[in-house]
Symmetry: C2
Subunit: 219 residues, 2 copies
């Protein structure tokens, strides 16, 4: 029981800092999204395709969360957008205070979209508000169509589900309709995008949604 | 700092129960393995192929760990081996006390191998000893070849790495040699198996290793 109490305190403290991050985003009219998924679902690849598609039209910045290494920040660096790497050193999720600290390196007045790539983990990041406008969950077709049922919290807390690696469906037993239905049974309000970072399928639709969402923020 | 102290206490208590589980396995000469991976890497499929291959020759039992649903236990049930489902209700990893409780449902005197399938999570389960003889990490080729570098703790603590979905390599950018080299740079003692649950490739080799390991336990 002691552990539950402590966990609640940790979450309360996190929520407080997340609120301050959110106020900061609102004040600067920045759309912040929290990109979450299993390891290897293609979060960084989607981020790269998004940067290719959007930079030049909308100014954006990236916060990279990783357990270890700055490999992802290196991948992002070549797109010439402001990027900050958080290394959690074993930590299984980002917390609001880490994002708050990273924000000291980013001039929010000069950007419109902030993409936060969380640690690859379909469980723990679902509990931690970072102050984002919405969570975007990436699920790869290679993970099978049962994942929303088995890891419901993440799909319940997300606003958008990107179904990635759609080019591999012919070689898999994954049924995309079943995957969508399973996700909707957990969260009927989900918006879907079907993408392939290899063929580029679906990236434009996703980027248009993202830009429209940023444009719709109250000024 | 307070959180770290508490976490240490939780781990110390876990290690104590894990020690008792391990003594129990030793006393009954049961090989217990802890199957860990990202969600959707194919742990349950490997388990199913393993049960098909081994049952009838070596008596075994299964403990299924899931955040939610007993879908995996249902898949295992049709192989007619003793199986216990642990549902963590949001918990991101199995702990030794959950395994201890599950063991009340399993007659260790009648089995030789216990396969514990952990929650799909490449971070947190690496810290929790369940009393197993070894951790077996499953990495799917679809997750890319950089995962051992990005999630080192799991690969450091595993004895065996099963590289699964090897049939999909022609359609991916994953280089299996790079994946192995990255894993070996974290843990030079790793033993590898390359498997496909669709074609059956590599399953026999893995099962032979498992049976030999069970045979080699001191009587």
């Amino acid at each position: 029981m002691a552990i539950i109490t402590i966990e609640r305190k940790v979450l309360e403290k996190n929520d407080e800092i997340a609120r301050m991050n959110r106020e900061k985003f609102t004040r600067h009219r920045v759309l912040a999204i929290n990109l979450v998924s299993s390891p290897g679902s293609g979060k960084t690849s989607i981020l790269e395709r998004t940067l290719e598609h959007i930079r030049g039209t909308v100014p954006l910045a990236v916060i990279e969360g990783d357990v270890q290494t700055d490999l992802d920040a290196q991948r992002v660096a070549k797109y010439d957008v402001p990027a900050v790497q958080i290394i959690t050193r074993g930590g299984c999720h980002l917390e609001a205070n880490l994002v708050r600290d990273a924000l000291e390196q980013i001039d929010l007045a000069t950007i419109r979209i902030l993409i936060i790539e969380n640690v690859g983990n379909l469980v723990c990041p679902s509990n931690y508000d970072l102050g984002e406008a919405c969570k975007i969950v990436v699920a790869s077709t290679t993970e099978g169509d049962d994942k929303p049922l088995k890891y419901p919290s993440m799909f319940r807390n997300a606003s958008v589900m990107i179904i990635n690696k759609i080019d591999l469906v012919p070689y898999l037993d994954c049924n995309v309709q079943t995957l969508k239905q399973n996700a909707l049974s957990i969260n009927p309000a989900l918006t879907f995008f079907l993408t392939s970072c290899r063929t580029g399928e679906g990236i434009a639709d996703w980027c248009e949604w993202l830009k429209a969402k940023a444009d719709s923020l109250p000024s």
